[in-house]
Structures are given as structure tokens and as C-alpha cells.
Amino acid sequence: MVLKDVYDFYKRMEDEHVILSFKGVFTSELLTSILHIMDIKMSDLGIVRKKKKRVFHVLVECLQNLYHHIEEVNENQEETLLEKAALIIVKHDGDRIVIRTGNYIHNQGIEEFTERLAEINTLAPEDLREEYQKKLLNNELSEKGTAGLGLIDIARKSKNKLGYQFIEIDDRTSFFCLSVVIE
């Protein structure tokens, strides 16, 4: 029966402690709504203020990465609507908040991107801080207002290594998955 899907879907989200998920195009208004919903959810879950702030901070950077990434994809008229869409899943598992994002990317940028992610993961907290300060002082803002500091900041605030994976879709496109844990 087709409608059983609904329950299966619900059950899976329940079992995996999903408190929020969205798939689609990330607009500025949507970001505001998601942040508002998460604000309320975290209060309802009794998450302490300090941790709530940290999750909020990481969430802002993750969402804005998706937002700006989609702007980039939009510039190319050949892209399909599917490729403009992205995914966010937030889980509350025990004491941990897990933020996962997924979006399509062009294969050609993967090598450089992987190097950057791997490098961030080698940095100790004080190195991340130093890297942040260095970039803050030297990087110019792009036209879109991005500072190239997002991932460093996510690693710094989450106090955990970034989890990531690229799933090849075809010779042009891959799906990039990012996982951030806040304990």
C-alpha cells in the first residue's frame, strides 16, 4: 500500500532522531524560517543556552553555504532545478546535535575542495583560531559577501572534525555531504 510510505518515512525520522529536515531551494526567507523554528525547537528540547548558541552559529554558516552555493549554480542556465536544490537534516541524538547538509557540486572543484576540508580537519583549536584571524585580516569579501571563513568557523564552533563525502552522480556532477556534530 502506497500510503504506508508515510509511516515508514515518519518512523525512519523518528528512529534517527530527526528534529528538522528540508529539501529544496534555499532562499533568504527560508533561512529565516528555519532559524526561527530551530530557536523554538532547541528551547522546547531544553538545550542549554550556551550550546543553543553554538548550534545556532554553526547552523547559520551551514545554511548560508547552501544559500550561496545555490546562487552559484543558478548562474549557469543549463543546470536543472534538481541541481539547485539542497538538503538539510538536523538530528538531536542524546546530547548531540548533528547537522547534515547535501548539495550537488561540479566534479571539477572536488579535488581542491577535498584538500581544503582535509586541511581544516588537521588543525587543532588554536590553529583554527589563528587561521580564522589570518583570513579575517587578509581575505577580501566576494561580491556575494562571502568571506571564505564559513568552514573554518563551523569546525571552530562545533569543536569537532568535519565529516564529509562526495558521491559521484555522473561524469559532471557529484553530491556533497557534510556532517557536523555539536556535543
Binding site: H68, Q133, L149
Partner: protein, 127 residues
């Protein structure tokens, strides 16, 4: 010249820059997707204020959160203020953070180490 007053929103801080008192306040959240747009009028206001600033200017940063895009623009404001801090003109920055908010305390320290201005980091119960 007029005071600069902007109401805060879900993603942008309240701005209260008073030309008569020389007290410039940023309060709330600064998490716009594109901070350049939001900070442009603030920079422009500071450029005019900087021509004839008050003898003492006090900047109060009372931010709950700010994103990486804003951090660059905040630094840019501080750099403009640095240039005003010459001769008899004194500019000082008070950076507030909420008790236990180590991240905002650290962010204040980060700016303090970069900016050449008297820079106080002040703990408060509520921002």
C-alpha cells in the same frame, strides 16, 4: 549630519549612532546572507562622521551572534574608526559578551588583537 538609527530584525542588528553624544551602538544579531549591503549605509555614515568626529567616540558592540560575512564588515568598521583615532580625538570600543558565552568573548579577543584601538571586553548578565 543626522543620527543613524536602524531597527533590528531577525538577521540584522539594531544600529544607534548618535552624532551628538559620540556613542555608536550595534545590538542584536548580525547574520545577513550578504552583509555588504547591510553595512554599506553604516560605513557611509562613519565616513561622514569621521570628517568631524566628537572628541570622544565610544563604540558599543552588543552582539548576540554574527556570521562570518559580518565579521569582515565589522573589522572594516573598526579600521575606519582606527583612522579617526588621531590627534585629540579618542575612539574606544566596548565589546560586550554574555556571561558563559566563550565564543563571543573569544571573538572580542580576536578583534582586539587585530584592531589598534583601546578595546574593552566586558562581561554582562544579559546582552
Amino acid at each position: 549630519m543626522k543620527n543613524l538609527y536602524l531597527e533590528g530584525s531577525a538577521k540584522t542588528p539594531a544600529v544607534d549612532f548618535d552624532v551628538n553624544t559620540g556613542v555608536l551602538v550595534l545590538r542584536g544579531r548580525s547574520i545577513p546572507e550578504n552583509s555588504i549591503e547591510f553595512f554599506r549605509p553604516i560605513k557611509e555614515w562613519l565616513d561622514v562622521y569621521g570628517i568631524e568626529p566628537r572628541i570622544a567616540t565610544r563604540v558599543e558592540v552588543r552582539l548576540e551572534y554574527f556570521n562570518t560575512s559580518s565579521s569582515k564588515c565589522i573589522l572594516d568598521l573598526f579600521k575606519r574608526l582606527e583612522r579617526m583615532n588621531v590627534g585629540p580625538t579618542e575612539v574606544l570600543i566596548n565589546w560586550y559578551f554574555e556571561k558563559d558565552d566563550e565564543d563571543m568573548e573569544e571573538a572580542g579577543e580576536d578583534f582586539k588583537s587585530i584592531v589598534k584601538l583601546p578595546f574593552e571586553i566586558i562581561e554582562v548578565d544579559e546582552i
